[in-house]
Amino acid sequence: MVTFNLLLNAVVTGILLGGFYAAVTIGITIAFGMLDIVNIAHPVFIVMGSFIAYIVNRTFGVDPILTVVMASPLFFLLGVAIFRFYYAVFESSGKGSLRGLAFFFGILFVIEVTLLLAFGVDYRLVQTSYIGPNVGFEHVDLPLRMVIPFVGSMALVSGLHIFFSHTFVGRAIMAVAQDEFALSLMAVDTVAIKQLAFGIAIATAAIAGGFLIVIQPVDPSLGREYIGRVFAICVLGGMGSVTGTVIAAFLLGVVETITSTLFGPSWAPAVSFAALLLTLAVRPSGIMGR
């Protein structure tokens, strides 16, 4: 029998999970929603971040989240490099879409197999003080390993939100998303703006990767599970909208945990696909779509 208590716990866990999903998806929201670059390799960059956190934690005992925050500039540079390559080969020639997709699919594959060859198929975890203990309220138990990533994700997403709405560069990125041509008429170097934005997108992947390995053990192919999820959230949220992404992430997190409470955790991956198909069929512009 599903009690009220169980349901309440599911909803609260879902919100925590949803917050983390927002951090996972925000990079896709930037790359796919704003820049129109279908980076299906994004989840694999997240897994890469997790493995960096794992290695550093294992050898030096450094906190995984601290590690990925330190590593994010490197990911930023990686993102810039990938964008330059992508732009030079696909986008500037105007025949981007199909080949760009296949290109990122290839990247996904190469990174995944490299991780597989280096680390094997085992699940890896990290050791920190906040993995294990719970914070309890009256009827709800909150595992700290969910709370910390939730707080971190919210900080990341709100930081980005402020960046996009209040700084010059952030607003330039939003402008590129809206009308690139018009922006180029204002003598703005749109390619440099997009390059910066894509770098930020990949940098968020590193941070999300740190959260991921705190929440659950990670193996090289875990990224695949997240592909459907991140795109479902991004589309549901209305593509380029940060607020929409957060709302959609909470929604999907709650629906997923309720599904796994009612039907068993093995059904959870199906939720995102259902959400994606429903959104595409009913309201392709998403919650916050224009």
Binding site: F32, V89, S97, L101, A102, F105, V110, V113, G228, L276
Partner: protein, 318 residues
């Protein structure tokens, strides 16, 4: 003198391979050849939608697995002949293609690509939770006794796959030269313009998805008998998805021969690499080849060959 119809060449090659299969004693060649032929089907099928119309399907593994698990279900219920199982797999897979296509193809092509990617994961979840077909543990299939007229059951499977490969190549060829192929090419080049010129774009795309998915399902149907033990990880292996994209891209996507060249080349490399190196590394080879071809030779081997021929033509004419 009348021209020899050009469909004769694929048929002749198939007949030649058939004769060869009767002469070769070593069963390993049948096993390896089966995989190569299977990839010819998958690559040609993918190319009908991906190459001609420019819509990327990331879920070839899903359609393949539908065929494979279709056979398992039928086998448990009625033990029908293989032909029935192949037809069943093809029909179910094309129906799944119909639904996915209808829901997502009205939008931008990217959404279709993402939906197919997610489709593979969801169907795998479904199979994992379905005890009747073995769930996560997988299921054993018993090969029927060998069929009259064939030296062994593996030889029979090889011939079946040879016929399927021939069918897919002929279908792809027929599509390419019909109004459907021209319509799909128009969609690839400029969908809006095609729509304005009266090309029934949605209907053509849905049709291509059904055909492509159906052929992939048919390729998957004999698979349980081939490996005799089917589990979700092998049926939904991402190797099928990446290979069916990489093979047409490497071979060349505009003509039917491209996927065939790509499939033979990559599948043979992988068969050799699996035996000599390791199976993870051969996926790496595919990934690296895929990236290098889309960046350096976007029109594949056929494209390289064509530009070489054009260059020579230009040199000789001046």
């Amino acid at each position: 003198m009348r021209r020899i119809p050009s469909w004769i060449w694929p048929v002749a090659v198939a007949v030649f391979i058939l004769t060869l299969s009767r002469l070769v004693e070593n069963e390993y060649y049948m096993f390896a050849g089966y995989v190569v032929l299977q990839y010819i089907v998958l690559a040609s099928a993918w190319n009908i939608l991906g190459g001609y119309a420019g819509y990327v399907n990331f879920g070839s593994a899903a359609f393949f697995a539908i065929g494979a698990y279709g056979t398992i279900v039928l086998d448990k219920l009625l033990e029908p002949p293989l032909m029935v199982a192949i037809l069943f797999g093809g029909i179910v897979a094309s129906l799944v293609g119909l639904v996915t296509a209808y829901l997502t193809l009205r939008l931008r092509g990217v959404f279709f690509a993402i939906a197919t990617l997610a489709l593979a994961i969801v169907l795998q979840t479904l199979v994992m939770n379905w005890e009747f077909v073995g769930g996560p543990l997988g299921v054993y299939t018993i090969r029927p006794d060998s069929i009259a007229g064939f030296p062994s059951y593996v030889n029979y499977l090889f011939v079946v796959m040879l016929v399927l490969a021939l069918i897919s190549v002929l279908v792809a060829r027929a599509i390419e030269r019909s109004f459907v192929g021209r319509g799909l090419a128009a969609i690839r080049d400029n969908e809006l313009a095609a729509e304005c010129c009266g090309v029934p774009t949605l209907r053509l795309k849905v049709f291509a998805t059904m055909l492509s998915g159906g052929l992939m399902g048919m390729a998957g149907a004999p698979f349980p008998y081939y490996i005799t033990y089917l589990d979700p990880n092998s049926a939904f292996s991402i190797a099928y998805s990446i290979n069916s994209i990489a093979m047409p891209l490497i071979g060349g996507m505009t003509y039917w021969i491209g996927p065939v060249i790509g499939a033979v080349l990559l599948a043979v490399i992988q068969q050799v690499a699996t035996v000599t190196i390791s199976s993870e590394l051969n996926l790496m080879i595919v990934g690296v080849l895929l990236i290098s071809f889309i960046t350096l030779a976007p029109n594949g081997i056929v494209g390289l060959f064509e530009s070489y021929r054009q260059q020579r033509h230009r040199c000789s004419s001046t």
